[in-house]
Subunit: 319 residues, 6 copies
Amino acid sequence: MSTHGYDSGRLNLPFVGIATFAKKPYAPDWENLHADVAVLGAPFDGGTQWRPGARFGPRAVREASTLFAFGHAGAYDHEDDATYLGEDVTIVDMGDADIIHTDTEGSHKNIETGVRAALKAGALPVVIGGDHSVNIPCIRAMEGQGPFHIVQIDAHLDFVDERHGVRHGHGNPMRRAAEKPYVTGLTQIGIRNVSSTAKEGYEDARNMGSDILSVRQTRALGPQQTAARVPQGAKLYLTIDIDAFCPSIAPGTGTPSHGGFLYYEVLELLQSLAQNHEIIGIDLVEVAPDYDPTDSTAILAAQLLLNLLGFIFHQKQRR
Amino acid sequence: MSTHGYDSGRLNLPFVGIATFAKKPYAPDWENLHADVAVLGAPFDGGTQWRPGARFGPRAVREASTLFAFGHAGAYDHEDDATYLGEDVTIVDMGDADIIHTDTEGSHKNIETGVRAALKAGALPVVIGGDHSVNIPCIRAMEGQGPFHIVQIDAHLDFVDERHGVRHGHGNPMRRAAEKPYVTGLTQIGIRNVSSTAKEGYEDARNMGSDILSVRQTRALGPQQTAARVPQGAKLYLTIDIDAFCPSIAPGTGTPSHGGFLYYEVLELLQSLAQNHEIIGIDLVEVAPDYDPTDSTAILAAQLLLNLLGFIFHQKQRR
Amino acid sequence: MSTHGYDSGRLNLPFVGIATFAKKPYAPDWENLHADVAVLGAPFDGGTQWRPGARFGPRAVREASTLFAFGHAGAYDHEDDATYLGEDVTIVDMGDADIIHTDTEGSHKNIETGVRAALKAGALPVVIGGDHSVNIPCIRAMEGQGPFHIVQIDAHLDFVDERHGVRHGHGNPMRRAAEKPYVTGLTQIGIRNVSSTAKEGYEDARNMGSDILSVRQTRALGPQQTAARVPQGAKLYLTIDIDAFCPSIAPGTGTPSHGGFLYYEVLELLQSLAQNHEIIGIDLVEVAPDYDPTDSTAILAAQLLLNLLGFIFHQKQRR
Amino acid sequence: MSTHGYDSGRLNLPFVGIATFAKKPYAPDWENLHADVAVLGAPFDGGTQWRPGARFGPRAVREASTLFAFGHAGAYDHEDDATYLGEDVTIVDMGDADIIHTDTEGSHKNIETGVRAALKAGALPVVIGGDHSVNIPCIRAMEGQGPFHIVQIDAHLDFVDERHGVRHGHGNPMRRAAEKPYVTGLTQIGIRNVSSTAKEGYEDARNMGSDILSVRQTRALGPQQTAARVPQGAKLYLTIDIDAFCPSIAPGTGTPSHGGFLYYEVLELLQSLAQNHEIIGIDLVEVAPDYDPTDSTAILAAQLLLNLLGFIFHQKQRR
Amino acid sequence: MSTHGYDSGRLNLPFVGIATFAKKPYAPDWENLHADVAVLGAPFDGGTQWRPGARFGPRAVREASTLFAFGHAGAYDHEDDATYLGEDVTIVDMGDADIIHTDTEGSHKNIETGVRAALKAGALPVVIGGDHSVNIPCIRAMEGQGPFHIVQIDAHLDFVDERHGVRHGHGNPMRRAAEKPYVTGLTQIGIRNVSSTAKEGYEDARNMGSDILSVRQTRALGPQQTAARVPQGAKLYLTIDIDAFCPSIAPGTGTPSHGGFLYYEVLELLQSLAQNHEIIGIDLVEVAPDYDPTDSTAILAAQLLLNLLGFIFHQKQRR
Amino acid sequence: MSTHGYDSGRLNLPFVGIATFAKKPYAPDWENLHADVAVLGAPFDGGTQWRPGARFGPRAVREASTLFAFGHAGAYDHEDDATYLGEDVTIVDMGDADIIHTDTEGSHKNIETGVRAALKAGALPVVIGGDHSVNIPCIRAMEGQGPFHIVQIDAHLDFVDERHGVRHGHGNPMRRAAEKPYVTGLTQIGIRNVSSTAKEGYEDARNMGSDILSVRQTRALGPQQTAARVPQGAKLYLTIDIDAFCPSIAPGTGTPSHGGFLYYEVLELLQSLAQNHEIIGIDLVEVAPDYDPTDSTAILAAQLLLNLLGFIFHQKQRR
């Protein structure tokens, strides 16, 4: 018998209460995490090359996630006839990694510490950026969890090696990841248009084992066939740059790029990946609320993350 | 021979003049309405569960409708090769129902009074919300007009029976409507994602005769086949929650939900319904201009309503 | 020897971390509050007569308060050569009272419950609205704490008795308060311009013992002389409507009124009141972030509250 | 005995109803105006030299004026202990003059027609711009009402004669006015900073009889002494450019200029002028709502106009 | 061997530096232009019929274009495996045509002068509006370059002959163009919904040789077949009104119209046209940044123009 | 005889043309600067502790400065009866220093290079930030220009020595400056409220020779007496943090603080300083346009800088 938060206690409307992720418990004691999922904010945007502001991404996604925090015993989806994220799935909000202005390396280290804490506790780490450079400490923290494959959903290849000495900005993370011995390969989906990665970056990526797909190529394949290009049986780390989406639904990001994905294209791809792979880590980056006057981008990020977590744990229960 | 307002008198550009609906005459004397269509504002948003502001929906839709109020003798559509809403179709703006803050029941009664006045005058009532709870007094006012079927276009099922004593908020209207003896059934289109209606609500709805279709299901059917699921020959009441649409074109609403309809999907469905059924009442709700910095949502609402009215009266003339 | 949060542990920049009030601990267990100050959100805006949105006031003020949550051991003010709110003053954030849409009375009861919990714990209750109607349950909760005097800082008299049956909207709270036997009188400061209170309301207020001062009258008196009009030795409840301030610094409110107070005028008045009276309860209402695109209003509210709390506890330590 | 709209009929909250000026009756039949005051919108902004958008000024001021349209029998001001604009003062909203894009002269003629209609009906014309060039047709329409003096409240002198052939833009109106034989002189108040008028313009203005006062000079004089510089007994036409005010309260204008007036400075000046002179015409221009995200500017314009009308008719009743 | 700006000198991130188009050299000396492409701003919006502000279009598009101005030796597109706009293609920014407020004809003449200067220098003129009326002087300047065909991508037909004397507003340009002896015909793509052009305008257009296609018709044909309807071998002038696009990605425009194009639909059409025709002139109009709070519209315009220029010169190099 | 740009050539309205500072010539060749004033953008915001976005400050101030770039032969100020910045004062815009994301030191070096180039050319350097950390390389570049005194106008003391290793963020510049042997002392004006500088910072500052004045203290002294506290005869470097101003006129900044300066307070102080001292360098920092929806802050910055430059060169001409 299902029990609703509605039935007793608080009605708990979305606009009421402290804005943790999905109104889940705040767990500031990283030594004592007990949860299936540990959400960590990584409010660093020192790696941006155009519009900053992703430092406010974690707060914006948390605020938006309250829309999906009705007091149900899980979220019923009538299309799938499934109830996702029931009480058997425990989620905590770790708060944010400490950020040190003017110090990229120090900030990155603090993010790495947080992810390692989540992993040590056996929780699935879900990191909310911040700019895409926060993926660098995330992948560092995944050392020892591998080998694993990375699926990147993004407008930009982010495969710059080094330029003017910069190796840890938001144009570099996929190159840094590909260099790791425990990363077996990358599937880079949604890549389009001109960006900071030059032609050589694409060649390097392919040489280092990347499968690069544009939006139009992905659309032609469909979500299932796209998912099928990911090596069978591989454990997956997912890195989702919100600018993979069309600016029509995700304008609130540093470097928007027209021609991006619509909602179901990514949702169904993620559902397919969740059904066929073990997901061992997630980051969602580049939500910049100052460019999101309608909250559309933050709502998208929250809705996507909660659905993705639903798919992952629904699959686990089936197994 | 057609005559244009352009040819004589005022040029009447959209930005000029008092913002009544489509710049049609204001008819504050509800005892003496003489028109085919009577537009009523219902600026009540006390039923919202997240972002308020739909109380400014009627003014925003009126303002946006002035864009479509050029001085033509009707609106020529080159795709249909038809002139819609010529001088033979009379429209008046009744102004707004009186709203009493902190008093849901009193406000709803005033809305009901307005709709009854329109119906008594033989006019098609078109109510601009306000939140979706304003549908409750609209359906009450339709007593004696039935039996009729309701087509709801919405992201949310709005089928909560009672929770913490609340029975007349914006999560309850379809349940309230389904309880009416003169409502023969509902077709609920665009329903998706988690919302305030739990699994039991879906079961109740189906048990009470609802046909529930998601955006993806509707898209797979196409507008004609979707329209064909509505009982043949039924008189229709249409209730359109603007959040049925994708946030890309309708961000200005209280509880946006990604994955919604695009413009032609709904337009063509409405056109098909108008061609095959008698439409006896319309409400369009949940436009919240404070979240609509580009006016895109209000323009959508105005454009949709004017096209829908065009379809309805074009069909009447054909008969 | 002072110790800074800076010296060890986290740098804790303002944009980092969960947004509780001043980043103070979240205390959801209202039966076990242990603090000098208990901050409660009251996100109810069903009492508004023009622009809604004060339901998001508590979150906005919390977010803004993080700007003042640097890791100091208290806040040093060089003008007063004083360190305010050192570690000896404990503050907790109770979260929000549960709000029930369409139900004013039920929502007000939940607010009252929260304030009573704070009082029972011996903490100074600080309530962040929500619209000014949330003052009604606050004053109800103060039963047994009196007799006390109310100082209201506001643009509007809020002294409507009843209109169309409405007695608990945001135009009524001061009338409701004046009716309480344990409220000995009111000083109403900043009142100006036309509003929902008609001439009779002013007469009633004066007859019930109010001292009404406009902005210009207050300005002519100066903060000290204004404070001196409050009955000597009276315990005070402070209710601050942010629209008392000039729209230049507080545009984010439902019913702004030009000609309001500037910052130091209110700050110095509050400092004077805190130095000469025991403050037994505080509410700050009508911050509506949807009309505050620069965050100026929320920052004002947070800056004012933290300074006020500093003055109160600085004075207590002196005694 | 006063009667309130509140007592019977509609509560008529500000957000309810069609947005005419102060919710007064719409009077589109300019041949049959019967009112003490006739408000005319002049939505022309083709004369602007920086940011356009004043064409939406009339609608924005009307919308803001609804805040002051509570159902009172007049507006009670406790500072003056006076009830302004009771039922004995009749106000109508004429709607807008017809504007013809690309045609300055044609648009201006239509504005002149409207003002003449108001004057013919014996009503006080109150024109809401539009940019300051709309003052040109207003002054043309005043032919036969003179001789009269003009009081301009503005940041800019607007005294350019001709430049690149332009003689009827928003930098020219005061020069055009000064040329009229029935204009006896100008008092130009609030003038400051660099603008389109060069040094020669100032010299010309003084030679043509202008008294030019900066904000600081006006502030030093005070409102009474400033008012006293206006020729005794002169009939007055008032032209108020909203950019006379400080951008802190009036950011929503085409060419803001820091260092402007605060609210009471202008209010008290207008009150003094109203008490000592017959006011025969008013325009208020340059409200550009696209730069007014908080509505502060439009609210200022509405609040100021309604108070000014109150002062004028209060004085008439005294006589 | 490719050389990057990155390798030496400045990193030149998008947010750094003076905002000329794509950070290309500013060429104010129109007598001495030496470039393949000459970009001219035409900041005139006196021809608009609803929301103004396109006068700030050139600055907004320039600012947005800096996002695509990384220091690459051209822009690599991995889908086409092509590097566009390498160092062999020279682009200059001519700045803006001088605009004279209140003077449509004078402003148009100055635009014409600029386009003629570009043509005289042998450069491809690219004009950034401004409203669509700026197409009128562009087509005038093309005298002597013809005969040529015009491809218009737009929501509106813009084929009004004359109304209230207006012949050079933003509803008239295609009619004015069709009258030119050197314009051989028009293909008008994206036309939909009601607008200022009445039924007669459509008939006139067809009689004067126009091929009119709605969005849905274009979508059904696909980009290649749409392009194939343009007369083979014709030299083309392209006029792109940004409101051809769906408001979801192009809200920042004066008269948005729902149901517009998505990104790739137009991109692929332009690519096909560039591959099969000589493009002799381009204008892109109606970007109004005041309605574009996320910069999405300006980014779309910049991204589209740079891709279009890439296609054109890529094709030239192939020949 | 004065000559106006108006008389011949272009009308050059503010919204027309490339947005360099005051539309002055762009001088990208730093080896060959020939001007009295050299304006340099320093778009670095990696030093911010709350809201970022000052990287877009230079572009915003340039855009706003076009409002003051009418084609006059200088700007006539009727209050001073003076024409400022006539043709005898030459100003160039150097563009921006190159910024390297994630690299504070590298970015600061590039700023230092720019300032040194201006100084070497004998021009007065005027640096537009960027966050206040850009003052650090400015003061470094001033080596060899001293000894000089610094006047800082700011809300915050910015006197943190080191914290978590950070020594070059926006909370550190005045400490860094005070350490320089060629800096003889500081006058720190406008300092108020809590900030990142703790009590020790104030003590350190006073020990190192600072004169610290709050807004209220400055206001009590008046501009002349405040200026008189600066050591007589000292050469001055001025650093102006826009957050010194009241958020009512300067909301567009990273860390606003209520209770700041109004316009004339700072203007008159700067005028007094310019009349009595040689000004050898200027920076104006922390304009963050993403929080400045009305452009009020950027306009303030531009208006202030242009007046300040006018005062400086007017004084030089007198000598």
